[in-house]
């Protein structure tokens, strides 16, 4: 087993199969306005992972008992298309998609300002036509653009990335092959969402193995990536508006 010293630590993971540097994101492609019937929409592609988001609202919220008389609420639904993954995923929600919907809602909530829209809902539908890991972070990135595109008042932008640890090596934007890595300490998957102005963390999940000291570096790497992602999100929105004018 060949190892390499990264930050003075021996690790079995010495290079990435797609040739990327450890701190390099996959190729990003963003399209805005892809769902004309929605109030706002966007797709975010990272490598082979594609996420589509469509936003409707603010609109009246049914059922009434869910309404908040003080401000509008954000409701997120994340769904993977059955053919998005190699082993067909049965259509419809499952526990995983319900959990992901919830954490994405929590990630986006601090970005929007719905104080002026009591008793309404802003519905965000995230759909994954093709999955190669990092679907929830791609979904957040698409949804954030779609929300802005819909004209929902926003305090700041949300940008997300999945940082990973392959044996002892920290990498960014984990792909499916890396997610399945088993050598040494195996793969650790850490989806993180960072808000553009406050630089606070609105999504943080982890599964795998990591030392508490390594987390600081993880967050540093996430901040660099989300800065880069934010620039691309902002540019895509500006270009979309320019086109309209």
């Amino acid at each position: 087993m060949t190892t390499k010293k990264e930050n003075n630590v021996e690790s079995a993971y010495t290079k990435r199969s797609d040739g990327r540097a450890f701190d390099e994101l996959r190729d990003i492609e963003i399209k805005v306005g892809i769902t004309p019937g929605a109030d706002g929409s966007a797709s975010y592609q990272s490598g082979k992972t594609i996420a589509r988001a469509a936003v409707f609202g603010p609109r009246t919220l049914h059922p009434q008992h869910m309404q908040n008389p003080q401000k509008g609420i954000l409701r997120v639904n994340y769904d993977m298309m059955s053919f998005s993954v190699p082993d067909r995923k049965k259509p419809g929600p499952n526990r995983r998609s319900q959990e992901i919907s919830k954490v994405i809602q929590w990630a986006l909530e601090p970005c929007v300002d719905l104080d002026s829209f009591p008793n309404t809902v802003v519905d965000v539908f995230i759909s994954i036509p093709q999955a190669d890991a990092g679907t929830r972070v791609a979904g957040i990135n698409a949804a954030a653009i779609a929300l802005a595109h819909a004209g929902v008042p926003m305090r700041e932008m949300a940008s997300a990335v999945a940082v990973g640890k392959m044996d002892r090596t920290l990498v960014v934007d984990v792909d499916k092959e890396e997610e399945d890595y088993e050598t040494g300490e195996g793969a650790t998957d850490i989806p993180i969402c960072i808000l553009s102005r406050s630089k606070t963390i609105s999504l943080l999940q982890l599964d795998g193995k990591i030392r508490p000291e390594e987390l600081e570096r993880v967050i540093e790497m996430a901040k660099k990536c989300t800065d880069e992602i934010y620039k691309k999100q902002a540019k895509a929105l500006k270009d979309a508006v320019k086109e309209k004018i």
Binding site: D87, R95, R96, Q98, E99, K102, V103, W106, E109, P110, G186, T188, I190, L195, S198, K199, T200, I201, S202, L203, L204, Q205, L206, D207, G208, K209, I210, R211, P212, L215, I219
Partner: protein, 269 residues
């Protein structure tokens, strides 16, 4: 049931002075009580109490065909039930997102740590493996059901015994062998959830404190022979975490782990 505004205000005031209603420190857990073998028909079982919060966990095992992506590995399914007996806030019916999320966080803490050696649960490669079900039931929710439930699941797994395998019929008997589950004790991860309320970060909240949490961060840590490892993390609720809070949180978790883990281990192995 919404915590009355007057209670909320009081809790805020107390926290600003570094106090909690029940007199605990911010990083102090309530009395932890662990009982094992509370259900004779289960392969393994436990009840855990954190103060008045009580939860039961039971392990059941059966023989199944393995998944195609793990032909020589046993399977694990974890479920969490938050039923109306445990709290006025819970209703009959399909699991709510709260129960789903809780179950999944507990599942990840167990699964990702490789606490269970799944490859040792193979009976016949590609044909028969052991499936492990851990079902957790909230009995009384007085706050921090998350951590109590996670601990109950671990304890139930720790004292579970593998059923007798009837080779002729290819299924499990209702009798137990003397064999424990193949477990990696050094990777048994203790789940700690911290809540941020105003400027305070507290551990093991009561129901009222829980309702005030602006965000919560659940972190599972395993001893790993003296080099503690985090095996799962989940941030919940709407408020984002600042860098400064992250540092405070990690310090608190390291200290909590050093203090609590040995106490729990004493009750177990």
């Amino acid at each position: 049931m919404e915590t009355p505004l007057i209670h909320k205000r009081r809790i805020f005031e107390y926290l600003k002075q570094g106090k909690r209603f029940d007199g605990r420190a911010f990083d102090e857990y309530r009395k932890i009580e662990i009982k094992t073998g509370i259900s004779a028909n289960a392969e393994g079982s436990a009840s855990v109490k954190f103060g008045d919060t009580e939860v039961y966990a039971g392990v059941k095992m059966s023989v199944v065909t393995p998944y195609s992506d793990g032909p020589e590995e046993g399977t694990l399914t974890v479920s969490m039930e938050l039923g109306p007996m445990a709290s006025k806030d819970y209703e009959m019916g399909a699991p709510t997102i709260e129960a789903i999320e809780m179950g999944r966080i507990i599942d990840r803490g167990i699964r990702e740590s490789k606490f269970i050696q799944f490859d040792k649960l193979c009976i016949k490669a590609g044909e028969k493996v052991w499936s492990v079900f851990v079902d957790i039931y909230a009995v009384n929710d007085a706050g921090n059901m998350m951590d109590a439930a996670a601990l109950a699941a671990l304890v139930a797994l720790a004292n579970a015994k593998i059923p007798v395998y009837n080779e002729k019929e290819g299924k499990a008997e209702h009798e137990h062998t003397k064999d424990s589950l193949p477990l990696n004790k050094e990777m048994m991860a203790f789940n700690m959830t911290l809540y941020k309320i105003d400027g305070a970060i507290i551990a093991d909240p009561t129901k009222e404190e829980e309702s005030l949490g602006e965000y919560r961060l659940s972190v599972a840590m395993a001893p790993n022979k003296g080099e503690p490892l985090i095996t799962s993390m989940q941030k919940g609720r709407e408020e984002p975490i600042t860098s400064e809070e992250m540092t405070r949180i990690l310090n608190m978790l390291n200290n909590l782990f050093k203090e609590l883990y040995p106490k729990i281990l004493k009750e177990l192995w």
